[in-house]
């Protein structure tokens, strides 16, 4: 089988301006900073970025925002990166704010082949604007559609050579969901072990989702 272990540069060889990119992490815990470096170095622009938050000005997705590489950001929270708010108010960057649980389900839905999910979250708020509302058993729900991407840049603690992943503590967050929802999935990992070194019951993301493995 094709060797999945490669450099950040080869892993992102087909990343182009204007693509949609998911980036794992929660306030940069579990964010693949090496892959973000490579996106910056390649000079990629006009990205649609999907992530839990927009990090900090000097960390994670925040660095792409500050460097003006992002056309549209989809996130649940932008408060830790004032530059995102500034660009949003100045009309320089489009920002779509999504409840965190809804964002998780939308990414999962794309990976799981679902056409959407019904959530009670956001009913009666601005989040419901433009969305179909359905009543199930007398209760209102919003129909939230799948969110897919061209690339998912994720971070894991450990991978085997087939791309089976293990995450650590709170660094798991959106990474396993994004691994399911993109055409090309690049995992930045701290440790690479031989096939068979991870027990099948301990695998958190099966290697079949992973296109490239890059050492952190």
């Amino acid at each position: 089988m094709k060797n999945k272990i490669t450099s950040a540069s080869e892993a992102l060889a087909t990343l182009q301006d204007g693509m949609t990119v998911m980036i794992g992490g929660f306030l940069c815990v579990g964010t693949p900073e090496g892959l973000v470096d490579e996106v910056l170095q390649k000079g990629i622009r006009e990205l649609t970025v999907i992530g839990n938050d927009t990090g900090f000005p000097d960390k994670g997705i925040g660095r792409l925002i500050v460097a003006k590489r992002v056309k549209k950001a989809v996130a649940s929270h932008i408060g830790t990166n004032p530059e995102t708010g500034r660009q949003m108010h100045a009309g320089e960057t489009e920002v779509v704010l999504v409840p965190q649980g809804t964002l998780a389900e939308q990414v999962r839905a794309a990976g799981a082949g679902l056409g959407g999910v019904l959530t009670p979250t956001g009913v009666g708020t601005v989040v419901e604007e433009g969305k179909q509302k359905l009543i199930i058993d007398g209760r209102e729900f919003l129909l939230e559609q799948p969110l897919a991407a061209d690339f998912a840049l994720i971070k894991a603690h450990k991978a085997d050579e087939k791309g089976n992943l293990v995450y650590r503590r709170a660094a798991r967050n959106f990474n396993p969901l994004m691994a399911m929802a993109a055409k090309v999935v690049v995992a930045e990992v701290e440790e690479i072990v031989p096939v068979g070194a991870i027990d099948p019951d301990e695998v958190m993301t099966p290697g079949l989702f992973i296109t490239h493995i890059v050492r952190a």
């Binding site: 830790t80 409840p99 989040v127």
Partner: protein
């Protein structure tokens, strides 16, 4: 009264709402103080929406683990018996009604139990994070906040800011009072030892039902 003493009073009073065996999510900021004031002997399981249960105290300097942080990004610990999971499971727990109590701050809360705490249009728009899911999903929603913003009421007949959730707040705990949200509106349940019913009414924008009011123990 200093801000710190107010915050301590609120946290102590909210702590009385928690009980042994509960699953509790504490919002970022002041609500996190509630963990210091649990009822004696109560084993409460704290959920951290970034992906685990069993949230423990801040680690000693030098022992921080960069992967073990709370939803505010601060280093924390995970207690024995804790469990980690991804964001889909974290919000399945929250949205699915498996969190007994959530404690959140507020910019505004109103007589219908509506809550606004995620944006001020044109000014600060930090985003809702997990707050919309928490208010819709938790079995009991407690708002913990200072009673007024520099004297201006935060408890209103109707929220003026964009809502976080509609009709989900159950209890409001402030430095001046404890107020229950009922289908008939707000009920003043307790007042602080250093205030009067009149002062609470004056500092509250919404109508309060006043009957059998007791004094907050803190």
């Amino acid at each position: 009264m200093s801000k710190d003493i107010k915050r301590e009073r609120i946290a102590k009073r909210v702590g009385m709402e928690l009980a042994d065996g509960m699953v509790v999510n504490l919002g970022i900021g002041m609500p996190t103080l509630v963990a210091n004031y649990l009822p004696a002997g109560a084993d409460v399981l704290f959920q951290s929406e970034n992906g685990f249960v069993g949230l423990g105290p801040v680690p000693e300097t030098g022992t921080e683990d960069r992967d073990t942080t709370n939803a505010g990004g601060q280093p924390v610990t995970i207690m024995p018996g804790g469990a980690c999971f991804d964001s889909a499971m974290s919000f399945a727990i929250i949205r699915g009604g498996h969190v007994d109590v959530t404690v959140l701050g507020a910019l505004e809360v109103d007589a219908h139990g509506n809550l606004a705490n995620w944006m001020v249009p044109g000014k600060i728009v930090p985003g809702m994070g997990g707050a919309m899911d928490l208010t819709v999903g938790a079995r009991k929603v407690i708002v913990a906040m200072e009673h007024t913003a520099k004297g201006a009421p935060k408890i209103l007949p109707e929220c003026t800011l964009p809502l976080t959730a509609k009709g989900q707040v159950d209890l409001i705990v402030t430095d001046m009072a404890v107020i229950r949200v009922t289908p008939a509106g707000l009920v003043l349940q307790e007042i602080a030892p250093d205030t009067t019913i009149e002062a609470v009414v004056a500092a509250t924008g919404a109508k309060l039902t006043i009957r059998d009011v007791s004094v907050m123990p803190y």
